[in-house]
Amino acid sequence: MERTDILDAVYDACVEILKVDKAELGEGTSFAEDLDADSLALVEVVMQLEEQFDLRIPEDDLDDVATIGAAADLVASHLAAA
């Protein structure tokens, strides 16, 4: 799986769950500061990615996920380990 595909999936999850415009999103977009997403919203985004990629990401791993790029990295690392 290419990283760009994963990134696209994160964008799509943000568009669907956070109701934001895809054009506004980039690797450095911050969930909390740019998208006004609370911790539950971040979990919802991650849940969608877990379902899509058939992964289970431990709760503790979410602490460091501040940006869209970090979310893509997290999914990529779990895919690589799977």
Binding site: D38, L40, E44, M47
Partner: protein, 248 residues
Amino acid sequence: MSTDRVALVTGGSRGIGAATATALAAAGHAVAIGYRSDEPAAAVVQRQVEDAGGRALPVQVDVADPASVDAAVTGIEAELGRITIAVNNAGITDDGLFIRTDPEHWRRVLGTNLDGAFHVIHRVAPGMLRARWGRIVNVSSVVGLMGSAGQVSYASSKAALVGLTRSLARELGTRPITANVVAPGPIETEMLAAAGDERAAQLAALVPAGRLGRPDEVAAAIAFLCSDAAGFINGAVLPVDGGLGMGH
């Protein structure tokens, strides 16, 4: 009047649960009737719902066992669709003086009454988040706040449901998912009948109305909290006790 929503009522084969399944079906929801062991009773509730033109599915589930809850919910969602209404009504009592209550009895009551609600909500909440709509009603008891001699495990489990519910109300309130408690007083059910006629009469005498409640009177409150009309009621503890618990 169909709203196309899917409800799960645990402990749905008898008493308050059976009345709730019937009431939710009458409100237009497809209802999964969770039962642990009494399949014939669940089938009777299913027939009542279907005779009234509703849709019901009996589902065996031991709420104390997360694997059983997972399997039951997976089956319900395959058959009826995503559950967005969860009524945690399954409950047991194992009465006895505190000093004679051993840890196994304590654990068994908490395992069903409190852990059971946790297991069900934990399994269905992600679907409610996705649906951007949900109703959770946890069936507590007047004794959760009054205390009850001889019911330390039961009362503790019922009080704990309030903390569970109110925390959920705060976490999920923006989605908009509501979580509320209904706290029945003494209701004419098999659970109360097991305590004996004398005890039932004592309890009835404590209620301002001077009588026991009926399961359908509790079900009406639960069905209301599950409705769209109750969308701004969140984290409430609604007594259905004829006034027995007034002031707590």
